[in-house]
């Protein structure tokens, strides 16, 4: 189709001028860098990130700098007030409270992170499968999710933990199994739009498999939704661990977590031993708020839809 001259065309018009594309688009910043820039400008999100990093250092590096015995009971040193030797005092069986905060925090953070990630993984697989399959498969899969959401997660959690006495690993699995529902809805919604993108249609038209469409296009493109969902899931999971352990159904002594510490310190609240209640309580609140702030920041930075 060389530009043809028609009788009505102005004389002197160049017959075949192929002009360069008029817009050079000097857009060098990548999407990721833009998102990172937006995230760092969100002060609350950055503060959240700092808090989480500090708590991770505190719980995982702290014990190497501040040695305490969290296994044996030391009945000669129970219920001591904070002092130079025990910065946050000791509890009812003589464990150093600051050391215990690190020791319990390890469990809380680990279980929270692992359970949050597990929930997101299950939710992602379920949601992507439902959204991509569509039709009655989608309808059945999502009714399962609706039914699951109708039953309070805490109730299922309590029943299961009452039947079995879970260790750390068991707790992670149980928490993951009760909290994948909300992420699955988010990922399904994302998949519904992504599966009709032109690049997915093109792949299918030339004979590409569904597996390839999902793993190469749908999931990588929903990564921002997945990451945001995971962040909120971690916050929720940390809170859930605290609930369950507070009720005495979580990790069993001598292991503990922040919820367990709260539970153990409950009686102390009336006798003025604030150091057994405030530190684990504040730790839970700070970490959960921090994760939520990070999630909000990521959501705005990636420009994806919110939770549930």
């Amino acid at each position: 189709m060389s530009a043809e001259l028609r009788p009505d065309q102005a004389p002197g018009t160049p017959a075949s001028a192929t002009p360069p594309d008029p817009r050079p688009e000097p857009e060098a910043a990548t999407g990721f860098r833009l998102a990172a820039g937006r995230f760092t400008r969100n002060r609350l999100a950055v503060a959240g990130l700092v808090v989480v990093v500090l708590f991770v250092l505190f719980c995982f590096v702290g014990p190497y700098l501040y040695h305490t015995d969290q296994v044996h009971t030391t009945l000669t040193q129970v219920n001591l007030s904070p002092s130079a030797k025990h910065l946050l005092g000791t509890d009812a069986v003589g464990h150093d409270e600051l050391g215990r905060l690190m020791y319990g925090g390890k469990v809380s953070l680990l279980v929270g992170l692992a359970a949050g990630v597990l929930a997101t993984v299950i939710g992602t697989v379920w949601g992507a499968a439902a959204g991509y399959a569509g039709g009655w498969v989608d309808a059945v899969m999502m009714r399962v999710v609706d039914a699951g959401i109708a039953i309070p997660a805490l109730f299922i959690l309590l029943v299961i933990s009452a039947i079995t006495t879970p260790g750390v690993f068991g707790l992670i699995v149980i928490l993951g199994l009760v909290s994948w529902l909300v992420p699955s809805r988010l990922i399904r919604a994302e998949t519904l739009t992504l599966k009709n993108r032109d690049y997915v249609l093109t792949l299918r038209a030339i004979g590409g498999s569904h597996t390839r469409a999902i793993t190469r296009h749908v999931l990588p493109n929903s990564i921002s939704t997945i990451v945001v969902a995971a962040t909120f899931q971690v916050a929720d999971a940390i809170l859930l661990v605290a609930y369950v352990s507070y009720l005495g159904l979580g990790v069993q002594p001598p292991a503990t977590d922040w919820g367990g510490m709260l539970s153990a310190g409950l009686t102390a609240a009336y006798s003025g031993r604030w150091w057994l209640i405030l530190p684990p309580g504040l730790a839970v609140i700070l970490v959960v708020c921090a994760f939520n702030a990070i999630g909000d920041g990521l959501r705005d930075a990636f420009d994806v839809r919110g939770r549930g």
Partner: protein, 576 residues
């Protein structure tokens, strides 16, 4: 104070005579990646009863000028210079004064009628609201006036229609309602930003006729923002051409469209595909389409009596009804029709993306319905696909090379990474893109480059059939031309067949050997492009052709008069 400013102050009497006067207008956007000077030193004016067309390609700043003239720039934009509407400077006036101006002295018609109307309010009430915003009328009087306005914009049975919701109207009717709202308070200036771009050509012609009548009647000045030279020729008195935020050429429509002086305007006009019509071109030499070697051999794809229904029962929609068409080796078949005619659905059936309700599809001689899915998939390696949207066609998370190599990963699993790289570099060269683009991300590319990457991906397996669904309709004309050139050159070289879906009759006329005209899910007529588009057999095709605006004001005036007189029955009856 610039010299221009002082001049403007001196001639304030003349300014009274100008509905709109822009003087050294500049607009700067502050974005995350820095400052962007979208508009620089734009000066123009619109006199009463005059239509000034502001033309340019995407990114030229033409819409920004329109929004600046309304004082409707977004928060991150800063305007400099003067933009006065009947003497009021929009750039410096306070918001309260602008609110009194908008909808009364100046009003706007937007591109997309679906989003310009409130979906939850009845159209009569929406028009009445605009009236009562500016005039002290009772609800009843305003409602009566709204009905009268609906009658003026040609809505049938306006009394009943006033109670309709926007979704109950067609796209063209919605745009009529938007126009009714715009003229409700008899403004002196109408700003129309691509008012017909979202509409089919036949509806576009009706809307332009309506606007022409209304503005001539009331002596309204119009600032028409458009990229379509045909619309300019049909509607404008004067033209200003924008490039990179600046005006490069201004003049009467005849001067600019017939005797352009600036290089850019010349290039732009040369790139506009022109429909050859029998009235003015009695002995067309059809140089555009390659000499027709009669298409021989078994069809590469054949649709036989295809019907497609979406949904079930009473809510079902029949998208295709008894459609049969075939594409033979080496030929290009153009599939044309208005929106909703089923042309894209037919292409998707050919691609195997939509399963027909009845009828059969055969691809490269094998019946798709009777094959196992694995065999069907490997058969599909003979298809290349280019779709409309340059942004959605490429996965933003992959590099250009990964996008192009994807079909190889699907069908040539044994290929080594090195061979793949070589193959990608090879096809990049074929679509006339530099090899260095391979490692770039799609978002760093312009729309035209992205569509060429799509084309490279489509050709990487050396297909026997290319299915192109509106491959250039999201591109500017100059870019469209270069992409179409690449496709036809490669077709001559590689000999693939092509099913080319387009709403643009001029493009199809230049590009396809055979044409299939669709309407409401059925095939209206099909035949060789040369004869079918010059001497159509059906009234529908004739009307479709007559509605295409030509980028030549003199010719377009004749065509319009013929069309309005109902004389464009067939080319041969009205020789030039």
């Amino acid at each position: 104070m610039t010299a221009a400013d002082r001049f403007a102050a001196d001639s304030s009497a003349a300014a009274e005579q100008r509905m709109l006067e822009l003087d050294d207008l500049g607009v700067t956007f502050t974005t995350e990646t820095g400052e962007v000077n979208a508009v620089r030193g734009v000066s123009l004016h619109v006199r009463p009863g005059e239509t000034l067309a502001l033309v340019g390609e995407s990114g030229s700043g033409k819409s920004t000028v329109a929004f600046a003239a309304m004082g409707l720039l977004p928060g991150n934009a800063r305007a400099t210079g003067r933009a006065s509407i009947r003497g009021t400077d929009v750039v410096s006036a306070p918001e309260s004064e602008l609110a009194g101006l908008r909808g009364r002295t100046v009003s706007m018609v937007f591109q997309e009628p679906a989003t310009a109307l409130d979906p939850l309010t009845r159209i009569g009430a929406q028009i009445a609201e605009v009236i009562r915003n500016h005039r002290d009328l009772s609800a009843k009087e305003a409602a009566a006036e709204a009905v009268e306005l609906l009658r003026r914009v040609g809505i049938p049975e306006p009394e009943q229609r006033a109670t309709a919701f926007p979704f109950q109207l067609s796209g063209g009717q919605r745009q009529r309602v938007v126009i009714a709202m715009a003229i409700a308070n008899s403004p002196s200036l109408l700003i129309a930003d691509e008012p017909t771009t979202a509409l089919d050509v036949s509806v576009q012609a009706e809307i332009l006729d309506l606007l022409r009548g209304l503005t001539a009647e009331a002596g309204t000045g119009v600032l028409l923002v458009t990229h379509n030279m045909g619309v300019v020729a049909d509607f404008a008195d004067r033209v200003a051409v924008m490039l990179h935020g600046e005006i490069v050429e201004t003049g009467s429509v005849e001067e600019v469209l017939l005797h352009p002086t600036h290089d850019y305007t010349k290039r732009l006009l040369a790139a506009v595909p022109r429909l050859a019509v029998a009235e003015t071109d009695p002995a067309p030499v059809h140089t555009g389409a390659p000499a027709e070697a009669p298409a021989i051999g078994e069809p590469v794809v054949e649709l036989r009596d295809i019907s497609v229904r979406f949904g079930r029962g009473r809510n079902g929609v029949r998208a295709l009804d008894g459609v049969s068409l075939s594409v033979r080796p080496g030929e290009t078949v153009g599939l044309v029709g208005e929106s909703g005619s089923g042309k894209s659905t037919a292409a998707r059936v050919a691609l195997g993306l939509i399963r027909p309700t009845s009828g059969s599809v055969s691809l490269f001689g094998s019946d798709l319905g009777r094959m196992r899915s694995r065999a069907r998939r490997s058969l599909r390696s003979g298809i290349g696909v280019v779709l409309q949207d340059p942004v959605a066609s490429l996965d933003a998370r992959m590099s250009v090379a990964e996008c192009i190599a994807e079909p190889l990963r699907v069908h040539r699993r044994a290929m080594s990474a090195q061979e793949r790289r070589a193959r990608v570099a090879d096809v990049l060269e074929r679509v006339r893109l530099p090899r260095t683009l391979a490692n770039r991300a799609p978002r760093e590319l312009s729309g035209g480059q992205r569509q060429r990457v799509s084309l490279a991906r489509a050709l990487v397996l050396e297909p026997r059939l290319l299915v192109a669904d509106e491959p250039t309709s999201a591109l500017d004309v100059s870019v469209q031309q270069s992409v179409l050139e690449v496709i036809s050159e490669l077709q001559a070289e590689l000999g693939f067949a092509c099913l080319f879906v387009s709403h643009d009759l001029a493009v199809v006329q230049q590009f396809a050997q055979r044409v299939v005209v669709m309407r409401a899910g059925r095939i209206e007529e099909q035949g060789p492009t040369a004869s079918t588009l010059l001497y159509p057999e059906t009234e529908y095709t004739r009307r479709l052709l007559a509605a295409v605006p030509m980028p030549d004001p003199v010719l377009q005036r004749q065509r319009r008069e013929h069309r309005l007189a109902g004389q464009t029955m067939g080319g041969s009856e009205v020789p030039a």
